[in-house]
Each structure stands twice: as C-alpha cells, then as structure tokens.
Symmetry: C2
Subunit: 349 residues, 2 copies
C-alpha cells in the first residue's frame, strides 16, 4: 500500500479469488445480476475490475438456489472478475414493504409480489455463499436521515450483534470469500465511533461504511469519515457504500476510503446525462443539436471515439436504446479514468 503525504488517501490492491482490484476503485452496480445497459465485455473494456450486485434483488429473483444451480453468480452472469454483494439491509429499508425489525432479523414483503420473507444474519451469509460472492456483507440495520438518536443507537447495537453472528456463520464455510464488517451510526460522531470500534473488535478483513449518502449534506458525511478512518486498521480495505457523485468520491478518498459503488453513472446515463467532474450534463440540451464533437475529446471510450454529441442527442430524443448504451459506457469510463488519475496522483504524492 502506498499512502499519500498530503492526506489519508492511499493506493492499494484488493486480492480476491477472482482477481486483483486496484484501489481506490469504483464498483459499477449490477443490481439484478447485470449492470444496466452494458454487457460484461464492455464493462471490462471501460476498466471495471469488480462489480457490486444486490443480495436483496437476487435473493428475490431468480433466487439463490437457481444461481447455485447455474454454477454460481460469476458463471450465471458471465463475469469472472470479483463480485461484491451487499447485505440487502439497505434495500429492505428503502424498497421492501411492511418492514419489521426484531433482534433475530428483519421481516419484509417483496416489492415485486408482496410475498413475505425473513432475513436473519445467518440467512444473508448463506445466500451470498450460494452466489459465490468474493466479498460478502453481513446483515445490518440502516436508518433514515435524519434519525432519532435512540433509533440510531439501537441500530448500531443490532448491527454489531448481527455482525458477530454473521462472522461465526461465514467462518464455518470453506469458501475463501471475505466477509466485511459494516459500520453504522447515522450522523452521530460518537455512535459512528462506537460502531467502528465494536465492528473492528470483531476483526474483519475489510470494512464497509453504511448509512451515509442518504440525504445528509456532504460536509456531514466527511465529518463522519474524519472521526472513524483512523479507528479502522490501516491495512483493511474500506468501502464507502452507495457513494456517489465524483466530488463525493474524490473527497472521501482523502479520508482513506478505497471502494465506492453507486448507481449514479449508469442511472443518469439512462436518463440522458453524461458525467463531468462538476456533475451531470443533459445530452438533450439544444446547444448540443449541431455539436459534432465527442462528449469528451480526451476520453478513450467507445462512445467518445466514434460518436458525436449531436448523434447521441438525436438518439436520446428518438428514444433509441443505443443512447443509453453509449452514455452508460462513457459514464462508467469517466469514473474509471477519474480513479486511474487519482491513483497516479497518490502514487506521485
């Protein structure tokens, strides 16, 4: 690992059974076992070394049994590089219906067909083992922002308890997958610190910071990171879950964050926007009507090497799927190039 001299930023290598991930890294999100509007070979081309998939979605459809029968998630989706699956905790909190949290786990109704399900820490590990994920996440309890202190404190307590159970469950497996610990604590400095200390005490090979980027201002997110990054063992990779916009990622890297995942580049692509360091720009704008230059002349992606803004704008207004495909390729390549540059800068610092 190479550390920056200017900040807590660092460059590292995350080694898994399915290959090495150069960090800081961005994980495109393949919610349902596919990163939307892009094929696995194009994902490789834009430089993805790892993707994230959602346990909640894949558990509901097509289900862990089918994925195991297919030979595991990598084979099922034709992606033989690392896969990180999340815990499902965030989706249960944000998508599922009739959520009911108890000490044993969380009961919920599927957002697809209303069927009832019960996630326990044991079950969530088992499901991810059926997938054959390289990095697993333990069931955690997410809370909304802003959150009452008592609720946030109870969630921290349960998240630690479930992490302990998850570790035992995962430890009995012969799989070489890594189970990360998840840190909660809402936007309370002391709760974040307490959660970090409790989770670190359980000794995980990596740590995820959950429950941020859920509506709080960016400075509060950075404030939370500032108070915990030193508590996490230096050699362990740190995943800031669900983050984010380019400036969120660039800022968080300075607090020693290594892994990031977010639907922003792919979702905004489908909605007709391309990403820049300052944020999104809509390809629909009239000023691009006769702009025959690429989205970014310095970008080496398939979209920028072959197509103009005028053409992609035309495709978008004409509701052509190719518009989504090209913007997705560009936006993911934009994130990958941004992180390649950051890694070079840290190495030079």
């Amino acid at each position: 690992m190479k550390k920056s001299k200017k900040s807590a930023a660092r460059v590292g290598r995350l080694v898994t059974e399915h290959g090495v991930v150069n960090t800081p890294a961005f994980l495109p999100v393949g919610t349902q076992g596919a990163v939307k509007a892009i094929s696995p070979r194009e994902l490789l081309e834009v430089g993805s070394e790892i993707i994230l998939s959602n346990t909640y979605h894949l558990y509901l459809r097509p289900g862990p049994e089918l994925i195991a029968q297919a030979g595991g998630l990598h084979k099922f989706i034709s992606w033989d590089k690392p896969i990180l699956t999340d815990s499902g905790g965030f989706q249960v909190y944000s998508l599922a219906h009739n959520r009911k949290v108890t000490e044993e786990g969380v009961e919920f109704a599927s957002h697809i067909d209303g069927t009832k399900h019960f996630f326990t820490p044991e079950k969530v590990v088992e499901v991810q083992q059926a997938f054959g994920s390289d990095i697993l996440m333990p069931l955690d309890e997410c809370v909304p922002y802003p959150c009452d202190r008592k609720l946030a404190e109870a969630a921290v307590r349960r998240t630690t308890k479930w992490a302990e159970i998850s570790k035992q469950e995962a430890g009995s497996s012969k799989q070489k997958a890594a189970l990360f610990g998840i840190i909660q604590g809402s936007t309370y400095q002391d709760l974040r610190k307490r959660s970090t200390e409790e989770i670190v005490a359980l000794d995980f090979p990596g740590y995820a910071i959950g429950g941020l980027s859920v509506g709080e201002p960016q400075e509060i997110m950075f404030e939370m990171l500032e108070h915990i990054y030193n508590v996490i063992p230096e050699e362990a990779p740190r995943h800031l879950m669900g983050v984010g916009f380019p400036q969120d990622i660039l800022g968080a890297i300075k607090y020693g964050m290594d892994l990031f995942d977010c639907v922003i580049p792919t979702r905004l692509a489908r909605h007709g926007s391309f990403m820049t360091l300052k944020g999104k720009v809509s390809i629909r704008l009239a000023r691009f009507e006769k702009d025959f230059s690429p989205i970014d002349p310095e970008c080496d992606c398939y979209a920028c090497r072959n197509f103009s803004k005028a053409y992609i704008r035309h495709l978008f207004w004409a509701r052509e799927i190719l518009a989504m495909q090209l913007l997705t390729i560009h936006n993911l390549r934009f994130y990958m190039r941004m992180l390649e540059k950051v890694r070079q800068e840290i190495l030079a610092e």
Copy 2:
C-alpha cells in the same frame, strides 16, 4: 454471379462505394439512424455488410440538413459500410397522418409533431443524397392489402411516373450512389407484371419489390414473385422490401430475390423472443427457467457463447436492457448465419 441449378436462386456481389455486399443478404433496419439495441461494432461482429435506414424518419428527425452538416449519414451514425435508404413511401402510408396523394407527390403530417410536409420524387432523391446513401429508393405509392384494383392501378401509374422523375433528378448528381426502381402492383398478377415492365424500361441498376408482405398470404407473395422475377434483368440486384420471417426469405430466394430487410429479428428480440427456422420462441417461457444451455449451442454469437437461456430469461423478467441487447445480437446473427448457409448451398448446387 452463380446461379442455382434447382431454382432461380443466385449468389452475387453488390458493389458500392462503401464496400461489397454478398447476396442474398439481410439488411438490419436502423430506422432512425441506429439499429435498435445494438451498436455498430456489434453489427459488424454479427456479420452485417449493409443496413437499411428510413428516409421518412431521418427526414423528420434530425433532418437532412443536420445529417449533411455532420458529414453524411455514414459518419453521423459511425457506420462506414453500405447504407440503403428507403423512399419513405411505405412510412407515409403506414405511419404519417392526413395523407393526401396527388400527381406531384404526397402531403402528410408528421407522426411526431403533426407538422405538414410534402414529399415529391425530386425531394425524396435530394434528401437521400444529403444523407449520402449508397442505395437510394424513388418515391413510390404503397397501397394496403387487400386493395381495390383501380387504386392499385393508379398507384402503379404514379409509381412509374415518379420513378422517371426520380431517375432524372438522380442522374444530374455526381454521387456514385445507385437509385433502384420500385415495383408495385398489389396482388394483381398483370399489374405486377406491368409495373415491372415499366420500371425495367427505365433501366435502373437494381430493383426493389414493394407492397408485399403487407398482410397477404405467403403463397400470394410467392405467386407475385414468380410472375415478375424473369422480367427483371438477371444481372440486377432485387430487393424484396420489408421481408421477413425466415421462411419468407428462404422461399423468396428461390424466386431470385437478393436483398431483404425487416424489423422482425430486432423487434422480436426487444419483445423477448429468439428466432428459429420455424419462427419465434419466447425466452419468457417457464421451461427455460433452469435451462443453463445457450439459445443455440451451434451459434457463434456473443450471447450464445457466454449466456444461458436461464440468465437471459431472468434478465427479461427483471426488465434488464441487456436482455434486449443479447437477443438482438443473437437474432441478427441467426439471420446472417442462415444467409451464409444459403449462399454456400447455392454455390454447391
């Protein structure tokens, strides 16, 4: 040109400024300047040597001026192999509103925004010249099926008249593009023959048969072809427009047809079906739920080499765009392989 000894089928080479097309050939349809759900490099990969684009759509949006400013259609859409554009006649008849045919041309209202437009034979040639199409089609008059004889006869008369005007218009250009003649005549044997004789008398470098595959039984379509194929000069390529299902194409090849275009493989892909020689099969079927074999084990396309029916079925039910992308790649490759095989068979006959 190599002719079959068993039928009127033949293998040939259509030479254009943008390359050679081996015939019989299938033209994927890029209505709005993009073949839906597939990128140009994937089109090359599946074996496409030529595509068809719709004059009506591109005229309305983004318009011939913008395409000319972009450096022509090939450059605008990043496809440097041959492009055939149709006349717009069929779309005016099937899509546009408030259609009014006169001796001078056809007035219509855009299906997009209701604006009024007037297509004359001269204008339609001019528009396609602005695109820089390799093969142009003259404005024709399409009629529905079934069609009153008087209407069909009037359409034949106008189609011939407009073909003559179009040829004069195209002849004054320095572009090396080929203007084909279009044959109409509905399902009346004598009108088909009359139209063929009149159009052939104008001496085009290629001929298109329009107004078939519009609802009539397959045997009537073949009956029409049987009565005209000998009237068309043998060395001229023959394009059976808008056809079709595999069995329509395979049958029509035996009547000396060389070029085919149809939205069937791409449209059915987006609706979740893969093509077979017998027709379409829905990937949604329950019997594919745990079918971990490819759509076609003998197919060499990206979809069949990497993904199972179970996975594509999952993607389709999960409404993932990748399902449409993979099925589109497979269906087009299926058509290309079918025609590669037909060409080999004809060469061996």
